[in-house]
Symmetry: none
Subunit: 161 residues, 4 copies
């Protein structure tokens, strides 16, 4: 099942709200079950270097359907999988990446947050996860209905970009 925009919108809005509440501008990335980017926002004043970290946290959590810090357990000194964090083009294995589920508990992807302390990043991501679970995603498929008098989507036309 694909992640509906209604869910990523709700997650992004909740993350922004939480970030503003604690006074820390954040980078927020949301990826779907294919670990492909669905939505992203760099809030005003958010650290530029955290852009890549937010993306990699979302990617890590989406790839393993697990919190980023849980992945870190496998590759910490003495762990079962040394170097795991160097796979997949580089994982980020500290807190701030969390899987996203819908109201029915279906795994739909993950969010990654970076810009504050690790605990602040986690707090903002957790707020987004909660919002995603409550997101109203009914009626989303209306989008793909061709409006009366409208043109058929050209997504498969020969002029496709």
């Amino acid at each position: 099942m694909q992640m509906p925009q209604a869910l990523s919108d709700a997650a992004l809005a909740a993350a922004s709200k939480e970030a503003r509440a604690i006074g820390v501008p954040m980078n927020v990335a949301i990826m779907d079950v294919g670990a492909n980017l669905k939505a992203f926002l760099r809030m005003d004043g958010a650290l530029l270097g955290s852009l890549d970290i937010a993306l990699k946290k979302a990617r890590t959590a989406a790839l393993f359907a697990m919190n980023t810090e849980a992945i870190g357990e496998f590759c910490k000194p003495g762990g079962t999988s040394p170097g795991l964090d160097a796979t997949n083009g580089g994982l980020v294995v500290f807190a701030g990446g969390i899987p996203l589920h819908d109201a029915g508990g279906i795994f739909l992807g993950a969010i990654g947050v970076s810009g504050g302390s690790v605990s602040q990043d986690f707090q903002v991501a957790a707020a987004a996860v909660e919002a995603a679970r409550s997101a109203q995603t009914e009626g989303e498929t209306e989008w793909q209905i061709i409006p009366s008098g409208g043109q058929h989507p050209a997504v498969l036309s020969s002029e496709q970009s």
Copy 2:
């Protein structure tokens, strides 16, 4: 000058609205003057392969402060700069990437749109450019004021992520 979120929000909203109006789901990417990602959205049903195209269109237009198709003129057969499109990690040189300016005409970055035909991509990007020019960006710096009772941003704390 950094691109304020108020501007990228306005551009993204206008692009989404235009995409819905023509019935074609789009990938929309917005980058700042340093060609770093500010905001991104993959609308429901938008082609996955257009994700990278939208990012590269935004990057191309931001890097050269020019429409993507204008860059294409330089590297088309017989153009002055063969292979230009292979620089900068790969440019996209057909329409759908346009520079963004604020109400005062200041260049602040660029938008890249992909998912429909080239002309549809351009149409959606153009609607966003227009909205960006009219965006209300006053008062944006309020964000960085610490809310009363709030915590100081922890970006310099020892717990930095």
Copy 3:
């Protein structure tokens, strides 16, 4: 705000002078707030392997608006963010990269120095930071005024490279 060349010139000159004073040839890199290269110099006799280190120090300090060694605190053994140094294409997290500000305290980018001991690298970078703060950057916009009798910049001409 973009970093004016007057500031990078002043920083580079001060770094060179300090390097000569201590008798250690250095690689010196300066990046703007978008972490894009503004200026670079490899002094005669400077270690070739330090070229990449200087670039990465400047990039690291620009991305996080923080000294490179401060970033190192987060990813050292027992730190909050293991593997942070592997993000953003590879950070350098020992001393020698320092943010640059203008006379008004505006953050404009960073300098990275490598070629000597870590303490020497830091010393040279610090001298540059001090010079940047005192740099005379007034009148910089004159550059973009077309000189009388001069040609209009061709950056938007059809012969663009």
Copy 4:
């Protein structure tokens, strides 16, 4: 023989002067015979996307000891070496990269210029080449003499960064 800074300084100064004379801000990169960066400058207002092009022009001309447009002859349609431009991490094969020689005709590296039209880029690079040939590089080795009372360069010390 290594490229002395006196030569790269002279080339960079001449390029800047020529760029100002024609009113087009440029990116200027200088590489040595090992195709490693010696000096770089992004003038105020120079196109960000030309940064990579200037670097690749300098690299291309340094790697082949030949003007960049001459390399282009080999890989143009019908040329002897199709795809040559895709080697070495990506060459740039239009004008603006030129080898640098000293007064004695010794090949010491190359300069790459980008930011204007191809002919403007070439003009600025050519001015730098001329200046390099006339550069006063005598006495450069003085740099490596330890100043009386000074410390020995620490470049090989165990604290090397």
